[in-house]
């Protein structure tokens, strides 16, 4: 469904990511892990067509370099780190913005019945139906991030890119987000690529795992096949498995 071949991208002074190659099938999810500054976000931005790139990114065999801007946006949506809100809109209006390309009325942007139903469904999914009339400036960070998730879903994309979206979320919503996306990706011609800070969430989200270092792919494959203590230790520069085991001991001693 998505195939990336020999991808280079950067910000003017040299490439941040170098020679990235991987592919995703329908219904698959991929987690990208690696130390800060290794190029995870840059890779997502290149796939989302925000950054100029060299090499090829293909969706269903079509290079995005040959696709119109709108056709790319209809297929790929990105949920990023929470951004500053300068002007307040209601929760409903914010989610409706995700329908931008779907709304038939181009001039006044009056939503169709399909648009309204889609927004309602997305708000229910993130559990914010009761807050739909509230201004987003009044919301907590976690609620705001759920509004942006609903807006991303309202785009009805085929591929969702996640750039550390869980930063402001309570544990409950972090887990729910990952579980929801796993169900979402299984429900059709879809794929998810996630950059998640939390190693537990990353492993739960991705059937596939990509480990990046210094802008290059270090290891890539089925999560269950490639994951081992040595790999995690090298990636995070700390013995993750040992750390998790120690944590587990604490958990086991907690009384029910």
């Amino acid at each position: 469904m998505l195939s990336v071949n020999g991808l280079y991208a950067g910000y003017g002074n040299g490439d941040v990511i170098k020679d990235i190659t991987f592919s995703l099938m329908e219904g698959e999810s991929l987690s990208i892990i690696g130390p800060n500054g290794c190029g995870k976000t840059t890779l997502l931005r290149a796939i989302a067509n925000i950054l100029a790139h060299q090499g090829t990114i293909e969706i269903d065999g079509k290079s995005i370099a040959m696709m119109k801007h709108k056709d790319i946006a209809l297929r790929i949506a990105m949920l990023g780190q929470i951004s500053a809100v300068y002007f307040t809109y209601t929760v409903w209006d914010t989610v409706m913005m995700g329908r931008y390309l779907h709304t038939k009325d181009r001039i006044f942007g009056l939503p169709s019945k399909t648009d309204t139903e889609c927004v309602m469904h997305c708000l229910e999914t993130v559990g914010l139906m009761d807050e739909k009339e509230r201004g987003i400036i009044e919301l907590s960070g976690g609620q705001l991030q759920r509004v942006f998730l609903a807006r991303t879903l309202a785009q009805e994309p085929q591929i969702i890119l996640l750039d550390e979206p869980t930063n402001h979320l309570d544990l409950k919503y972090q887990i729910e987000l990952v579980e929801y996306l796993r169900r979402w990706v299984a429900g059709g011609k879809r794929a998810v690529i996630g950059v998640l800070h939390d190693i537990n969430l990353a492993l739960r989200l991705g059937d596939n795992l990509m480990v990046m270092k210094d802008g290059c792919v270090q290891v890539y494959g089925k999560t269950t096949d490639i994951i081992n203590a040595e790999l995690l230790k090298n990636t995070y520069d700390v013995d993750v498995v040992q750390y998790m085991r120690e944590s587990l001991r604490i958990w086991e001693n907690i009384k029910h």
Partner: protein, 339 residues
């Protein structure tokens, strides 16, 4: 929401009516209505109304009030666009240099009496527009070079630097041609004095077309307030939309300023007030800003020409006296909130 809109429209009509009724000669409201009926619907004029009253109302006050309304609306609208496109509550044509650029262009025209062949009376608005646009292009290009992420403060600071620089050129120019200095200084302070129907007929179509074009982008403006990257992934053709909007906003500001001089702060203040009262949705913010901006300018002009009769104050000073404290309030309140 509907009742709020009705209130705004009523306020606008009331303000324009008061604007034409009050002055060195006060015209009773009843007479204003009767003269209007005579002019618009050709209802016969009662004999107790003098011809001079009709002339004052129809040839002087009404075009002046309408011009003030159009300019106020145009400036406020450009403020809305600048703030949303640049994602910056402090951005406006005034703070970002469009006004200074347009005023330099108009200064050249006024000082040297230039008239471009074929376009005649359109020379002034056209040059104002071009100079305003060039200034903002330079400012934004410069800002994006020194700060790739175009942070809020960078844009404001660069805009200020460009404004001051361009203003200095205008000042130098006027200092070198002393015979015109008074005219130029008065013009720079902004005034609606002595403008007739001709100006209204030139400016109105420019502003109406510009406003309609901007209104077509109301959804894009909403989405762009969340930042360019998000707007891009939602499917907006950022480059095209951004430049179309900036050019449209500069066009209406530049041509308005070329006629009436620099009038600051209204483009900063009105959008804020409108967003506070009506929410941020541009479908509402755009028309209401035009209406309230227009009404506000008519009031400022009314104050400017009546408070020290028989002489007149520059209207730019009135808007700044009201606008500057407001600007400071917004800026420092935001800073305080961050601490």
């Amino acid at each position: 929401m509907k009742s709020k809109v009705i209130i705004v429209v009523t306020v606008c009509l009331a303000v324009v009516t008061i604007g034409v009724a009050v002055g060195s000669v006060n015209i009773p409201l009843y007479d204003v209505i009767r003269i209007a009926l005579n002019k618009v619907l050709a209802v016969e004029l009662p004999p107790d109304i003098k011809k001079t009253t009709v002339d004052i109302l129809w040839e002087m006050r009404l075009p002046r009030a309408l011009l003030a309304f159009i300019v106020g609306g145009a400036l406020s609208l450009s403020g809305v666009v600048m703030q949303s496109v640049l994602r910056n509550p402090l951005a406006s044509s005034y703070t970002i240099g469009v006004s200074s650029g347009a005023s330099l262009g108009a200064g050249i025209i006024i000082l040297y009496g230039i008239s471009i062949p074929f376009i005649g009376t359109m020379t002034l608005p056209l040059v104002g527009f071009v100079f305003g646009l060039v200034t903002i292009l330079l400012a934004i290009t410069f800002a994006s070079h020194i700060d790739r992420r175009m942070e809020n403060n960078t844009i404001i600071l660069v805009g200020m630097v460009f404004s001051l620089f361009v203003n200095a050129i205008t000042t130098l120019m006027s200092a070198l041609s002393r015979e015109h200095i008074q005219r130029l200084v008065f013009w720079q302070m902004g005034t609606f004095s002595g403008k007739g129907w001709a100006t209204v007929f030139i400016l109105a179509p420019i502003v109406v077309v510009g406003a309609m074009l901007i209104m077509c982008f109301n959804r894009e403006l909403d989405i762009m307030t969340f930042g360019e990257e998000q707007a891009k992934t939602i499917g907006i053709d950022i480059k095209r939309v951004k430049w179309t909007l900036l050019i449209a906003a500069s066009a209406i500001t530049g041509s308005a300023i070329a006629f009436v001089g620099v009038i600051g702060f209204i483009d900063l203040v009105v959008p804020h007030v409108v967003r506070k009262l009506f929410g941020s949705s541009h479908r509402i913010v755009i028309p209401i800003s035009i209406l309230l901006g227009g009404a506000f300018m008519v009031i400022c002009d009314l104050i400017a020409r009546t408070i020290v009769t028989p002489s007149e104050l520059p209207v730019g000073a009135i808007t700044a006296i009201i606008g500057a404290p407001f600007f400071a309030y917004i800026y420092f309140r935001r800073r305080a909130a961050k601490c």
